[in-house]
Every structure is written in structure tokens, then in C-alpha cells.
Chain length 374, copies 2
Amino acid sequence: MRIGVLGAGQLGRMLALAGYPLAKSFVFYDMSGNPSAGIGNVISDPEGTQLKEFLSQVDRVTYEFEHLPVDVAEQLAREKTVHPSPRALQVCQNREAEKTLFGELGIPTPQWKIADSAESLKAAAESLGCPVVAKSNTEGYDGKGQAVLKTPEDAEAAWASIGHPRLMVEKFVDFSREVSMIAVRAEDGQLAFYPMAENIHHEGILRYSIAPAPRLSPRIQEEAERYIKSLLNELEYVGVLTLELFETADGLVANEMAPRVHNSGHWTIEGAMTSQFENHIRAISGHPLGSTEPRGLSCMINIIGEHGDVERLLELPYAHMHLYGKGERAGRKLGHVNVLADSYDELVWRASNCVQFLPGSPEFSSSLNENDTQ
Amino acid sequence: MRIGVLGAGQLGRMLALAGYPLAKSFVFYDMSGNPSAGIGNVISDPEGTQLKEFLSQVDRVTYEFEHLPVDVAEQLAREKTVHPSPRALQVCQNREAEKTLFGELGIPTPQWKIADSAESLKAAAESLGCPVVAKSNTEGYDGKGQAVLKTPEDAEAAWASIGHPRLMVEKFVDFSREVSMIAVRAEDGQLAFYPMAENIHHEGILRYSIAPAPRLSPRIQEEAERYIKSLLNELEYVGVLTLELFETADGLVANEMAPRVHNSGHWTIEGAMTSQFENHIRAISGHPLGSTEPRGLSCMINIIGEHGDVERLLELPYAHMHLYGKGERAGRKLGHVNVLADSYDELVWRASNCVQFLPGSPEFSSSLNENDTQ
């Protein structure tokens, strides 16, 4: 089976690496003019004239990023099976639609309001209570197109800096940590859930994921599974879906979802019986899903901006290197290291050991630093 | 780094799948006219006119099969680093040279003699004591170019059937099982050894490998490590080397070696901290080696001739599917399934469960069937 992937970055690359052993072949359709997959057949088409050619070379279509025009996805879906569906894409591209759906399904979110002017932004900030974060309702990602309002008086400057006609305004959530739930749904409706990961961000970029999340209560895991299950079924979703959440004293609060494999699931390559990449390929190809059981404890460390001392990292017997074959540039995701261990104490020690060879990485810290481990 | 692989079959494919995450790219040079790697850049050149072009596209050269003219390897080695060295290739292509080296290094072999006529074959059979096996001294592999002599009188027919001017004649070894030792040597001489596998053949083709081999005594593992270490160092070898052995009441007896990753090491993909493929790529690229520690118990099941019921196999949570993207043909290696378990009892049950979905597979049997399992 020939899989067509919209986008040609590291997620597509890792989908292909997981898909070849299932006898799939891969064609990537790149719209950026700067494809980095480095594997399979890449059609680089910044002009957008070769979509027909791409379609003629593939049996099924999926994507590695959600910032794709919905009408393009719909056009593709008229000719080939596209997983996940354009509707999932549409919901994920629109914060208002996403939060409305969360609400309909009983998934808690931060309190929110929509603003369509500097005045209504100020009113939203007053009504929600500052601090609030304002985000462009569409198009923004990775912390772009956002502003924090410490007082309602910040509204005018924030409105100007974001420069978008419609904003999602959210009240800050008092959370103990950020977690993510990754799940997969097969064509026949079969579901599988990975254990949740704890995610540590630094300057808006994911740096570390620990999975299974330390001190993960079965109740919290089940709560997240219930939420993502309702999304998967409502959207008749096929493939991997990621739900980013805040863990608070009152339970989970949903931040946002991503209709694809996710950076916080890279630990599954060595850390689970079946990786998120293989399970996405299985799902979109109509196969049964693979086991999501963890294999020991994992910490995923992102390699950002510069590669660091790769040779020293390769010497560490518990570290698994995953490089994306990309050139160095500040803030760019160049690869990740998956660290395995049998106890959280050992995991922290090993992850810290890796971090010393990755200049520019923030000191390794997680909820494990706050108290005694276990 | 651009890795050039001589040969373009499933071993090359799996080398590439392991090498991309280390930021390597791959060019395959196929001389068969029937490449199956299905990944990387394949130069198919049955006429042998594009070797220069191949060399211009790569930084280092390795191979996935040893039946390559040594003068071609030497020619390549004058222009690019070739690992393992042409000398290793030469020894592995010549049974007399191989057994002579084994003897020099104190590695036990079956008693053997060289025959260069029907008469000397008869004399060898008489002197060694039948049964003996006669094999073409060069070129033969996978049971081709071989004949068994039950009495010296079979010599004339055997000589005619093999049709080769120089034969290796070996006395039968009374062995309890077939095992293999896979080891890797880095450019700086660093060594790493996998736990030995027990190998079960059927009609001359490997069907199952169990690793670590059941009831593997540390003494036997150390004996095999000592043997392969002497070969690796003597040949100044860089990369993965495989030594096939018989386990007998008196210890190990070497059968033959292969200067490459090996079917009996496919279990390492999920079953070891670092796969044989990744370790070969690390070695030939000048990197430090990865850990060869096993992750639980593994059974590798070859998929031969027909794919069987892939969907049912994909349903099994302990089975990892590795398909080579090849068409079905009697006797052809189409893929393998790696089964994981925590006890040998469970491993046998799980492997047997897989085998029912692979028509044409011999019933699962190993040394574990002979006695009670642990």
C-alpha cells in the first residue's frame, strides 16, 4: 500500500520508518519548499500545481501537520481515503470550534471568550479575570500569535501585536503539570490508549516528556481516556489523536488537541510495544491496532537548535538517538533522545546525564524534582 | 554521512531503517537486476558499468551479502572506506581459508579434508569416516552445491552432482543444537557481543531463532565470545560478524561465519537495546557501539514463501511484524515476526500461536520441546 503524507518533516519521516516494515511505501507532498523527511519519494510543490500527480501515486492519504487548508483536504478526500477526516482537521484549526466541541462532550476547558476587537478583548479580560492569554483563533501554533494580558489595560497592545481579527481569550489555569494523552482509533472503531506523558516545556517548546507520567493515578488516566474516546468517536476519527491537558487539583483541563502523531509520543518508539507511528500507519491502512503497553519507563529529550555531542550520547547504553537529518538553527527540532530505565530515580539520573551533552538544554526538571520520587 | 550498500535486499533495507535515525542516507548497488530494498536510492546495474557513479554518491561502503567478487571490493577500497575489509570477504568466500583460520585461532571445527577429484573425495570420506558432507569450496550457500556421502562409494555421484573442482569435505558433527554468536567491532577496536541464539532450520532454511538461547550456560557464551573475538581482532574487522556454531557435549564447534548482519540476529530489532543493524551502522560510521543487552526473551519466526494471515498476526499484542515488501515465491524470505515474552513457556506458546497463521511453516520446535522448560 502506498501512503501519501501531506508534509515532509520529521513526523512524516518517522511514520515512514515505522511503515516500511508493514510493507507500506511513502510519497510526501511538501508545500514548504523545504522538505526534510529525507526518505521515500518527496514531491516538493510550493506552487501547489502537483496535487493531482501526488494523488495518482498513493492509495491513502494522511498528514503530519494540521495547518493545511481544509478545502485541500476535502478535495483529496473526494478522490482517495484521507485519514484523519477533513472534519477533524477543521476542528483542530479553529480554537473556537475545538473548545465548543470539548464543551459539548463534557471535556473541561479553561474559561474562554471570543474577542473580535480591542474593546471586546478588554471586556473579555475583565469578565474572565486576568491574567488571560489571547490567541489568534486560527493559524497560530507553537506559541505564535499569542499574548498574555496581565491587566485589561493590556488589551490594545495585545490586539495590535497579534493582528488577527478573531481571538480566543482564555483564563489562566492553575495547574500542577502539563500532560498529554495519545490514543488511536482504527477504521473499525477499535481504540487503544497510551499511558499519559508528563511534558516539560521551556520557552514555548517541548523539551522533555516522561512516560508513563510519574505518580499517574489510574483515575486520571481513565479520565483522559474517557475524554479522548469521546472525541475519537464523535469525529469518527481514524489514526492517532493527541490531547494536551493540564493536571489541576480538580482534575484534568483540556488545552488543545492535535490530529496527528505528536512530539510528546516520541518516547513510544522504544518505550512502548507499538510506537505511535506504527499505530497511526496501522489505523489509516485498515489494520488492527498494536499494543500500547509501555516497555519500562521512558524520558524523551528534544534536541533543539544544535546537535550537541552526539558521540558522547551514543556512548550511553540507555540512550536511543533519533536524528532528523536537519541543519542546525536556533529553536529548530533536530532530533530526540529516548532514555529508558526501570525506576524513576534511574530515569532522572540518566536523563540528566544526557542533558549535559546537549548545550542550550534547560536543566532537566519535572514533577519528580518537587518531591521524593515514587 | 552517505552509506553505500553492495546488494539491495532485505538486509540492506533493515540497515537503512536503522541508519536513518543516525542521520545516515543510503545508496544501494544492486547487481542482481532484482533489487527489493524499496528504500533509499537504488542503482541497479547488472552490467556492472555504474560502480564509479555509485562510489561518487557515498562516503563509506558496506555490503549485505558476501558473494561479491573480492577484486571488486578491493577496487572500491582503494577509493572509499570499505567495512568489513575485503580480507574478511575473501576468508568467508573460501571454506578452506575459513577453516584454516579457525584452526590457527584455536576455534574447533568439524574434521575436514579438501578433495579435488572424485578419487580424493572417496579417500577423504574413507579417512574421515562417513557420513560426510561435501561442499563446493567457494560460491555455495544456503545448502546449494552440497552433497551428503553415506558411504565412500557415493563419492563419484556426489562429485558429479556438485560439479566443482575443489570441495570441502567435513565429518558430521553430533550436535545437540545449532547456535549463533553475533558480535560487532568498532573502528577503534571496541567490541560488543549479543547473547547467543538457538537456530532451528527446516529444509536448509532458518525458520526460528530463540534468543537468548534457552539454558545458555555462561561458559558456552564466553567460549563463543572468545572465538569470535579472536576472529574480529585477527581480521581487524569493523562491523557485525556472525559465527554459526554447533553445540555438542564437548563444547562448541564452528560451522561457518558470515561477514554481515544475519537472519539469526533479526530478533535484536525489538529484543535488544540496540539492533544488529544499528550496531553495524554505528561501527562502519566510526561511532561508539550501542548496548547489546537483551530486552526480555525473543523468538524470531521467518515468513517463507507466502505471507500467511498478516491481519491475524497484527492482532497479536506480542508479535512485531517485519515485512520486506517482496512478492511470494516458494522458499523466498518475505519477512519475519519477532515475538517477545518474559518466560520461555510464554515464548513457546506465543510463537506457536503465530505459526498457525503462517501456512507452510514447520511446527514450532526447539530444544525447549525436549525437556520441561524452566
